[in-house]
């Protein structure tokens, strides 16, 4: 560790955020909202891959990891859908156009969109879990001809909790995208499906032997979904999940996000199920 060998360039501190301007804040549901951010400096927003996340800092309040939910084909802005559940996310909720936040990232692994070429894709998400998968949907739709059958299965708590209603409607009008939405319970003004998201899997059209599944939602929900996919004869190595753990630094220094030998921040959040199946059922891991 002698200095001479490192003199070439000064190390950039990965803990220092870059300023971004809020261009738009849009209410999605009663507790979720979508921020559109533009870099304050001229050098553009960083390119990202679907599934990656940023650390977003509110001046003087704190920093949280939030997955990127924008369209990777529009890299000039950063889009984040956030659920207001804690101090920092509630502070983010209060921001409006012109306000400044700090951004570090993008960090983490990506959905295997490239691996899906020539295969069917089934996306199973629940709750806010649709947000980190929206970039993958956008990317796949941008290269639709390279993918076989494509199903998006989404479960929400109630009809009021459905994210991206408008866009789901547009996607649904694509004849080659099966969009199925279900809610856990509803009142009579909901004419759609009621029931847990796993009920949609059996009815989606895809060839289990030649499909990539991307699953994102609460850990319990993913457990049931993976079980159901395997029951449908999908192979464990074709299933991808996105994991969540406490995260403080996002660069592998703080140790908080360990999941067995993995750091969720750099080895995840997206994992191939067959790589983590031995951890998936363990308590307190």
């Amino acid at each position: 560790m002698r200095k001479e060998s490192h003199l070439v360039e000064e190390t950039v501190d990965p803990m220092v955020p870059r300023p971004f301007v809020v261009r738009e804040s849009r209410e999605e549901t009663r507790d979720a909202f979508t921020l559109t951010l533009e870099p304050q400096e001229a050098n553009g927003a960083p390119a990202f891959e679907p599934g990656q996340f940023n650390m977003i800092y509110v001046f003087g309040v704190g920093e949280v990891p939030v997955s990127i939910s924008g369209d990777p084909r529009q890299p000039e802005v950063l889009v984040h859908t956030v659920r207001a559940v804690g101090g920092v996310t509630r502070a983010l909720q209060k921001l409006g156009p012109g306000d400044i936040v700090g951004v570090r990232g993008p960090f983490g692994s990506a959905w295997p969109v490239d691996k899906a070429k020539g295969k069917d894709v089934v996306i199973v998400t629940g709750g806010i879990g649709l947000a980190p998968l929206r970039p993958a949907v956008c990317q796949i739709l941008g290269q639709r001809e390279k993918i076989g059958k494509f199903a998006l299965l989404y479960g929400a708590r109630t009809p009021k909790d459905i994210l991206y209603r408008e866009q789901l409607g547009q996607w649904r009008s694509n004849l080659d995208l099966q969009v199925r939405v279900t809610v856990d319970n509803a009142t009579r003004d909901w004419y759609g499906t009621v029931g847990v998201v796993t009920i949609l899997i059996h009815k989606a059209r895809f060839d289990p032997a030649n499909t990539i599944a991307m699953v994102c939602g609460p850990e319990i929900m993913m457990r049931f979904v993976v079980q159901e996919l395997i029951k449908e004869r999908m192979r464990e190595q074709d299933i991808y999940i996105s994991m969540e753990r406490n995260m403080k630094c996002a660069v592998g220094f703080c140790g908080h996000c360990q999941y067995g030998p993995n750091f969720i921040c750099k080895d995840g959040p997206v994992f191939r199920f067959s790589d983590v199946r031995h951890l998936f059922g363990l308590r307190e891991i």
Binding site: A186, R188, G195, T198
Partner: protein, 153 residues
């Protein structure tokens, strides 16, 4: 009658039942159409049918007092609707509505119960199939109870 038998033969629920049993079942069957908004059965009423949904969406509802009726599950094309006919006291546990125009094949539960009593092998085959439906519903209900997307989840 032949049409109903064909339908039963193709349905995964009846997969593996011998031909003569399917004949028996088809003999208890009839095709029914429910208009959008129509009540198919009401909670607490006597249950004498089960249905194979051929088209459309049916909702199972409970009255949530101040919340009004709550839809707890929808039953859709290809699904089996109704198990109360099989299990005493043969009363519906939920209310079922046609969310949209619905076509079903209805099987007469009274007739089936009689046939099952006479032919325990048939009874066993049906119970086996309905317990799978019930187990699935129980699993889904438990998942709903977990309220995994809820504010405190």
């Amino acid at each position: 009658m032949e049409k109903i038998k064909d339908l039963l033969m193709q349905h995964p629920f009846f997969k593996g039942l011998p031909k003569e049993r399917l004949d028996l079942l088809a003999g208890c069957g009839s095709n029914i159409h429910f208009k959008k908004g129509e009540c198919i059965f009401k909670m607490g009423e006597e249950s004498n049918h089960f249905y194979i949904v051929r088209k459309g969406r049916v909702s199972l509802e409970m009255d949530g007092a101040q919340h009004g009726p709550i839809r707890v599950q929808t039953i859709e094309e290809g699904d089996i609707l109704g198990w109360s006919w099989l299990i005493p006291p043969h009363k519906w546990s939920f209310t079922a509505f046609a969310v949209e125009d619905v076509n079903v094949t209805a099987l007469d539960g009274q007739c089936l119960r009689r046939k099952c009593e006479e032919d325990h092998d048939l009874g066993y085959e049906l119970l086996k199939r309905f317990s799978a439906v019930l187990a699935k519903r129980l699993e889904w209900t438990r998942m709903q109870l977990l309220d995994v997307y809820g504010a405190n989840a």
